[in-house]
Subunit: 247 residues, 2 copies
């Protein structure tokens, strides 16, 4: 089914000398908590890297599932269409995060993944992952953990979409983004949004105008500063208080 020999590198992928052990994303990626010797064995799986231009699709919904991708640098959205123009953004992904795992079940990607800025990914052919995971228990465990964490993340989004008000959704999103940037060594309070208001609205289950109004409102309340895509959080605790307050 997933014959190793059948896996070809993607057109624009290049074979690299890749070392996970030297990658600064290693503690956020599949290699998390792996011993040095296991990590070396795992490096054979990392087939290649692929550079992406902003707007380019890493894969489209319905494409044959061959590989999982680890984001090395840049920023992605994944989204889902229902065939009639309706689009749902299902997630935003940054360095160290994995893309494409939803394809394992059906042999086809369920989402599309689009680069929201120039980016680079590591290509991990799934047949190889499966084979190596059979031999390295630490990798198998980590793979399961990554899949399960994706499920937990999705449940968080379900809670957000199912039971939060608009301002709570945006506050939750900003706090989440802040935490993820922090984990990558960036400022917790000062960052550049890579997505449009429309994409953010889709993710949060809101219309773009509502997102824009909320940014303005948060600005008026001295919680953030906004200038187009650049956001500076002025009052993290204040954003947290929006969530804590029951109605």
């Amino acid at each position: 089914m997933y014959a190793v020999t059948a896996v070809k590198p993607a057109a624009s992928a290049k074979k690299f000398e890749v070392t996970c052990s030297g990658c600064n994303m290693r503690e956020l990626c599949l290699t998390r908590g792996m011993h040095a010797d296991d990590m070396q064995r795992f490096e054979n799986v990392v087939y290649a890297r692929r550079r992406m231009k902003r707007g380019e699709a890493l894969f489209a919904a319905g494409d044959e599932f061959k590989a999982v991708y680890a984001v090395r640098s840049g920023f992605f959205k994944t989204s889902l269409g229902d065939g009639e123009g309706r689009e749902q953004v299902t997630g935003f992904f940054m360095g160290g995060e994995l893309l494409g795992m939803d394809g394992i079940g059906a042999g086809r990607y369920n989402n599309a993944a689009i680069a929201l800025e120039d980016s680079e990914v590591c290509v991990l052919p799934y047949a190889m992952i499966e084979e190596v995971a059979q031999k390295i228990p630490a990798l198998q465990r980590q793979l399961h953990a990554v899949l399960a964490r994706e499920i937990v993340r999705d449940h968080g989004v379900m809670m957000l979409l199912g039971s939060m008000r608009a301002e709570e959704r945006l506050a939750t999103f900003l706090l989440n983004l802040s935490k993820r940037f922090t984990a990558r060594g960036y400022s917790p309070s000062d960052f550049h949004l890579r997505m449009t208001r429309e994409e953010l609205g889709s993710y949060l289950g809101l219309k773009l105008e509502t997102v824009s109004r909320l940014f303005s409102r948060f600005h008026d309340e001295r919680l953030i500063e906004v200038e187009q895509k650049h956001v500076r959080i002025l009052d993290i605790a204040g954003l947290g208080r929006i969530l804590a307050t029951r109605h």
Copy 2:
């Protein structure tokens, strides 16, 4: 970490002579597509069964993650609290479906799982699954597939919550339920809802009054018959048309 010897059966679990090969859920469960010999080896993992009374919790959010559960009979909900009374129902589960996988990542269950009627589950200690999956590639692949399918399912819910109107959400839910009952040999159009309007509303991101009104509306439009928890779908195509219609 997940030492096999440390795994004890849950208090109310009993050791059974269990055969997956004789289970009528085998084609919906983890054993799907498995060869007879692999299935026999897998049966050692199925530690025990556990009977559940309606309202009983299979596990609570935050409980230590030890096992995954396969529903043999009955009906469950999983839900997530945010610590302040807000509850989000994240799914409904019936025969052949797996519960508790979201715990793999953090070592603790993220959801609570509650039986909505008297039910029975197979207990699959995760340490054993992991060990056996190392030896049976077909099981490993199936496990990954089940995890990935759960992610795909969650994305469907995100689309539902993020971009559908109330009546589309309920129609989608009814059609989904109909399909799952059909796959289990029950009537596609005539079934008993196990959840309250409030639980269904939570799942669909609606208030219970809205769910009730929608049932009445669908009834007026001759799409369904409703009598309390009993639902009969009169016009499957009509329900489908609700989704197809853009606004």
